[in-house]
């Protein structure tokens, strides 16, 4: 459902214009009438804001927050543009550190989701055709309830008065360990991250596993492969595209998440998303906020590109 970040955009353009020239005038008009409005809307409310953000990252913050007005040029800065925010980003390791922390959280969440989603997706794919739709719907349903409600549920479960906290701390107490706080901790953040994004992993995995040809497993069995070998040598390699799709769908939103650390995390659990939110709504340093957003975009693109390279090589090997 989500488009890949792959190339081919330019090539697509050229193909289009060639095909376009062959269309009769009336068909050409229809084409512009159909594709024009959504294109213009997104140009205005998606592409333009993106460009403004890139531009903003090269500017100075205004006196009262936001951006410096375009007319008041600093005598030292060329036409009011500056690399200051980027210099600032690399001047203090704390920002890079937060990016690394976000990356680790996103990777951990992705791996936990994969481990939890795989058996479920496999079971659904191997269930009778009739029950599959219901089983998939049961995965989608909780995911359809409001995001904040799903995060809030963990505030109750992990709260200091809840049964889970009491039981856990009771257990720790038996070994003479001090009670710990589950809520407002990195643990709470990770649990909620997994909880919120798990369906994103189950669905593409299931879509992939469902398409596997069952006779391959029979052939493997006839050739003497045991259950583990059949899984590891046949099912797993064939499911790599599904694993890749699911991982991308989990990894990207977790990288930019600010609400979960904001609600369930402690003061030390700040991720990139929280840092960006702070720049835009807290300290109102919009140029630096824009720089962080661009760094986040680049980081996400880089990770997905690396994963696509790794996945691609395995897939066609």
């Amino acid at each position: 459902m989500r488009c890949g970040w792959g190339g081919g955009t330019m090539r697509g353009c050229f193909c289009m214009s060639e095909e376009h020239a062959r269309l009769p005038p009336a068909a050409r008009l229809t084409k512009w009438l159909v594709s024009g409005p959504p294109f213009v809307y997104l140009l205005l409310f998606f592409a333009a804001p993106g460009l403004i953000m890139v531009l903003a990252s090269f500017r100075f913050p205004g006196e009262f927050g936001g951006l410096a007005p375009f007319t008041a040029t600093d005598p030292d800065a060329l036409q009011g543009l500056t690399l200051e925010t980027y210099r600032f980003f690399f001047s203090d390791f704390i920002y890079t550190e937060i990016f690394i922390k976000s990356f680790i959280v996103a990777l951990t969440t992705t791996l936990i989701c994969l481990v939890m989603a795989y058996p479920l997706a496999l079971l659904i794919a191997r269930s009778p055709k009739k029950s599959r739709d219901l089983m998939v719907l049961l995965v989608i349903l909780p995911f359809a309830s409001n995001f904040l409600i799903r995060v809030y549920a963990w505030m109750i479960i992990l709260g200091p008065q809840a049964a889970l906290s009491l039981a856990f701390n009771g257990l720790l107490g038996m070994f003479g360990v001090e009670p710990v706080r589950l809520l407002f901790s990195p643990f709470a953040v990770l649990v909620a991250m997994v909880y919120v994004h798990l369906p994103f992993m189950v669905l593409p995995l299931y879509t992939n596993l469902e398409r596997h040809d069952p006779t391959l497993l029979d052939a493997a069995q006839d050739l003497g492969a045991n259950a583990w070998q059949r899984f590891w040598r046949v099912t797993f390699p064939l499911s790599l595209p599904g694993i890749f799709a699911g991982s991308v769908l989990v990894f990207i939103p977790v990288m930019g998440m600010f609400a979960i650390p904001d609600i369930l995390g402690g003061t030390g659990d700040m991720l990139v998303g929280n840092l960006i939110k702070e720049q835009f709504l807290g300290t109102r340093d919009w140029p630096f906020g824009s720089t962080l957003s661009i760094m986040l975009t680049l980081a996400v693109l880089l990770c997905v590109w690396i994963a696509a390279r790794l996945g691609g090589r395995r897939r066609y090997a």
Binding site: W5, M16, L42, M116, L138, A144, T207, I263, W286
Partner: protein, 258 residues
């Protein structure tokens, strides 16, 4: 069948993990206690509190208005985009439609905040939220519509053309009725996305206007009250209804997720 047992155990554990937290929220919405801790007794009290909370009702009204307007606009633009993507395969259009769906929400939120304030000089409020919601909903509608178009039998259109139907007549009498369920499903999806959105609304709402998710957020940031459980339960009921409806209209479109 040891392997089967193992798979079932793992899968049931995951289902429990998915459902228990939500069931706990629902259960506590009927608990006759201010604390979300032990079970005291059954009550409807928190629903009564909810229906007398002026701020909450105003936020719910805003959410409904925004979701209605933005889902209608997104359905129109998204259907056009889906048709264009299927029919003309314009790569730049596909990219600009899918990118808002694929990128972290916060990026869309902050870039729109910058754009509205810095370039349009717009006072943030209902209008800016609607414009933002349309932006991210177009892609979802387009995907559902395109999936439906891809599943249609091409020979239907050839038959229509052979019978002398103009492209418009073919669209009006053949294509549109066939993709209508997908359009409806996409519209319901856009409505759900808009009602539920927190992150993008958070950045484009400004100070004066609140929506249901924004109001819930401000409540749980201050304190956890049973009233939040009650509103959550009602909201779950609403989205559940919408999802079931969408699944009825276009079962394949929903499965095509991911």
């Amino acid at each position: 069948m040891r392997r089967g047992v193992w798979l079932w155990t793992a899968a049931l554990a995951v289902y429990a993990f998915l459902y228990l937290p939500l069931l706990i929220v629902i259960a506590y919405s009927f608990n006759d206690s201010r604390l979300n801790a032990e079970w005291v007794g059954f009550t409807w009290r928190w629903y009564g509190v909810l229906f007398h909370d002026e701020d909450m009702l105003a936020a719910a009204g805003n959410s409904l208005l925004i979701a209605t307007v933005s889902s209608l606009m997104a359905t129109l633009l998204g259907t056009m985009a889906g048709i264009a993507m299927h029919r003309y395969r314009i790569k730049t259009l596909t990219f600009i439609v899918m990118a808002p769906v694929a990128m972290p929400e916060i990026l869309l939120g902050v870039s729109l905040l910058l754009f509205f304030i810095q370039l349009l000089n717009l006072t943030l409020g209902t209008l800016s939220i609607m414009l933002a919601h349309i932006t991210f909903s177009i892609g979802f509608v387009a995907i559902v519509v395109r999936t439906s178009l891809a599943g249609l039998d091409e020979s239907l259109f050839e038959a229509a053309r052979d019978c002398g139907a103009s492209p418009w007549e073919t669209f009006r009498h053949i294509t549109f009725p066939l993709i209508l369920p997908a359009v409806a499903a996409g519209g319901l999806m856009a409505f759900t996305l808009s009602i539920d959105d927190f992150v993008i609304t958070f950045f484009t709402a400004g100070v004066g206007v609140s929506t249901l998710p924004l109001h819930i957020y401000s409540m749980i940031k201050i304190a956890v009250t049973p009233e939040v459980n009650a509103v959550s339960t009602l909201l779950m009921l609403l989205t559940l209804t919408l999802i079931v409806l969408a699944a009825k209209f276009a079962p394949d479109a929903l499965k095509g997720k991911g």
